[in-house]
Subunit: 141 residues, 2 copies
Amino acid sequence: MHASKPFARSACAVANSLDLLGDKWSLLVVRDLLHGKRTYGELADSPERIPTNILAERLRRLERAGIIASTPYQQRPTRYAYTLTPSGRDLGEVLLAFVHWGKRHIPGTVTLSHGPAGGTAAAAARPRRPRMARDKTKRGV
Amino acid sequence: MHASKPFARSACAVANSLDLLGDKWSLLVVRDLLHGKRTYGELADSPERIPTNILAERLRRLERAGIIASTPYQQRPTRYAYTLTPSGRDLGEVLLAFVHWGKRHIPGTVTLSHGPAGGTAAAAARPRRPRMARDKTKRGV
DNA sequence: CCATCGACTTGCAAAATGCAAGTGACTGGA
DNA sequence: TCCAGTCACTTGCATTTTGCAAGTCGATGG
């Protein structure tokens, strides 16, 4: 019992945050969840058009990291909705910093509304009639 | 009223910031520059051991984006010192948000001191041996 | 019974990463 | 004059990660 090297690169908080979130899509998924999106389909519909395999992989990674949770909200075909955990919600601070920097230094960029409040978000948050089959065990070749 | 699609993915400030900085190394380079590091060698010496080809590529990208600037600090073999521009310094806000989130949610992570203030930074900021060369009128380029 | 839908998988090509060794411009010493 | 050494990169691959398009699976409604 001696994890002599618990960190992939260093003990730096920034480095470890980036090991988890340092790519072009993870924080956009968090952004959309903060905006009230909940289902796979809603997330896949972002204006940036995230490839579906990447989305699935990121959801898995973020869930393993405790940033999001998938909770079933329907049994017939078991359906899961993705939501941010408290730690995921805390990433709002990071998102805000990026919005602030981007709007200030990349001309033409805008904020796509922020926070779960707002009628548009509430409307988008309700999946009308979805389904889903989850639990994927590793299969042999 | 023109250039209908100037953005790679969308007009979202977050998405565009990530197109520039969304990888595992860029923000670490900015972090080190904020800490007062200036030369290629100092940057390559970070605890995360960034591969040298990646470092060179990131420095090029960040300079093109106006986040850093390179100024020659020696001419015989022309050597450049990298420094943050005002826009690069504004990324401190983003770094701080990551530090805050990381320290709160990734156990064991720490802050590696922040901001350009402090004696350590001042000491580290000086390339140790600015070689002076006599004028030998040798054409370079 | 079948077309459809939502949520993913799979296959594969293309790009990004990582590693190690090499290069160019010099400096200082034998 | 040679040679070892430094610094700042570059180059050549091998490995990994992306991205795209199409396929699959469990319903469902017509």
